[in-house]
């Protein structure tokens, strides 16, 4: 909870608009380790900047439902962008969120159908399926478009960053605490920063009525 608060505080840092000056880049590497200290075999990591705002783009980000999984299970969008949830499975899903940043309930919809939602506030939105408790995804709703996905080796490049003193964050699902670093970006130059994330177990969640799931004798909470 505390980690989420700090992340949201970071996302809410809407200090200054982006300006049309020569920009710089922030480059670096993110390493992800499990809570037992072992390196994570695979990790989907989003790296993003806060401290300035940019308008939303036109694109609609997709989170597909494939084989009882959200794919991808971590996306970053800019405030006032939409996310679409196509159901590619042959059975019903009921996508919902009870996150304070954005509550929604898409109802149950079948194969081939898609529903979308607008995200007008910055924050972290946890998305689940009310039918399949193993399905979980996270949407980072960010104040600007300076966000990227680290590659398989953890490397990232954030370009088009306005000069100034900003904070860069790295986030992966199941992160035990937010990871960030202060950076100074100069026009036409690269700023290098390396970040490390510790990843824990999948956080507990309840269904859309605030109750425990009961599925095949296994209780999810």
């Amino acid at each position: 909870m505390r980690a989420t608060l700090v992340i949201i505080a970071g996302l809410a840092g809407l200090a200054a608009p982006a300006w049309a000056e020569p920009s710089g880049r922030v480059v670096g590497t993110v390493t992800v380790t499990e809570s037992d200290g072992k390196p994570a075999s695979t990790a989907d990591v989003i790296v993003y900047m806060v401290g300035f705002v940019e308008p939303a783009g036109d694109q609609v980000t997709k989170i597909e439902q494939n084989d009882r999984k959200f794919v991808p299970d971590l996306v970053a969008i800019t405030v006032n962008e939409r996310v679409s949830f196509p159901n590619n499975d042959q059975f019903l899903h009921n996508v919902f969120s009870q996150s304070g940043t954005r509550k929604f309930d898409l109802g149950s919809f079948k194969h081939g159908e898609a529903k979308d939602r607008l995200f007008p506030e910055a924050g972290v939105v946890d998305v689940y399926c009310n039918i399949h408790p193993e399905m979980a995804a996270t949407i980072l709703v960010l104040p600007n478009r300076r966000h990227t996905r680290a590659d398989a080796k953890g490397r990232f490049v954030l370009d088009g960053v306005p000069p100034g003193d900003w904070t860069v964050f790295a986030y992966t699902r199941r992160a035990t605490k937010p990871t960030s670093a202060k950076v100074t970006v100069n026009a036409g130059a690269d700023t290098t920063v390396d970040l490390a994330i510790v990843r824990g177990a999948e956080p507990a969640h309840l269904n859309k009525y605030g109750e425990r799931y009961h599925n095949g004798g296994q209780v999810y909470r």
Binding site: L5, I8, A9, A12, G13, L14, L92, N94, G100, T101, R102, K103, F104, D105, L106, G107, S108, F109, K115, R117, L118, F119, P120, E121, A122, G123, Y209, G210, E211
Partner: protein, 243 residues
């Protein structure tokens, strides 16, 4: 700066709309509908005490499953039971009528995509169980407006009892205001009336406080209608459980 940041954090956690109740009112239809393929069992219990010069007492039970057909349309299969007694009539309890009802919300049910004003239309056709030729047709035009924690609603209802060779119609206007106290609790006040449009019936009206409460899949709302015209008191409680 820290205070501003903390305020933003708090603001992020404020719900955009309250969760209390499918209807925030007791005597009025709401503008909320089930999400697609959602199912809810809904029950009402209502009393109308000391109506008219004949001191008519009525208690009714309404029960029905609601099914979300789409995100805007829901169907209801209601059954109604009624107990009545008056100065000129002995007490009797009966399974009164059953039927089919549709409620259509004209705008998105999503709190972000929906405009502040949300209209809903409702139509129902019900058949009397005992008087088997009697049919009741009901219609409502409902509009709600929400700003911050305040929700206002107007419901203009119409019913017509069509019997062989005769007909009785009523206008049933009402309105209310509901204020969010916590995420799950609302309080407010409402006015409701049933106005006969012909000489075959009488009219009555109430005004009073209401409350709505939500807990998980369960919601409850109710109003204590205090008589202002041809009725003494008319409480009504509704609740639902979603699946």
């Amino acid at each position: 700066m820290r205070i501003a940041l903390a305020s933003l954090v708090v603001a992020c956690f404020l719900p955009r709309t309250a969760d209390a109740g499918r209807s925030f009112y007791g005597w009025l239809y709401g503008t909320e509908v089930m999400p697609e393929r959602g199912v809810e069992l809904q029950t009402w219990i209502l009393d109308e005490n000391n109506k008219y010069a004949t001191h008519t007492q009525e208690s009714s039970i309404w029960w029905g499953p609601l099914i979300g057909i789409t995100d805007k349309l829901e169907l209801v299969l209601p059954i109604e039971m009624e107990w009545t007694r008056s100065d000129v009539e002995k007490g009797s309890f009966t399974f009164k009528r059953f039927g089919l009802e549709a409620r259509y919300r004209l705008v998105s049910q999503d709190p972000v995509d929906a405009p502040a004003f949300a209209p809903l239309v409702r139509v129902a056709v019900k058949r009397d169980v005992i008087a088997r030729d009697d049919v009741r047709v009901e219609a409502d035009a409902v509009g709600s407006y929400e700003v911050g924690s305040v929700h206002a609603l107007i419901d203009v209802g119409f019913i017509s009892d069509i019997q062989s060779g005769t007909q009785h119609s009523e206008l049933r206007p009402g309105g209310g205001v509901s204020v969010r106290v916590t995420d799950g609790l609302r309080v407010g006040a409402e006015v409701y009336s049933e106005l006969s449009l012909d000489s075959k019936g009488e009219s009555w009206a109430v005004v009073g406080p209401d409350v709505a409460w939500t807990h998980g899949r369960f919601w409850l709302s109710g109003a204590l209608g205090i008589g202002i015209y041809h009725v003494k008191v008319a409480p009504r409680v509704m609740w639902g459980i979603a699946f």
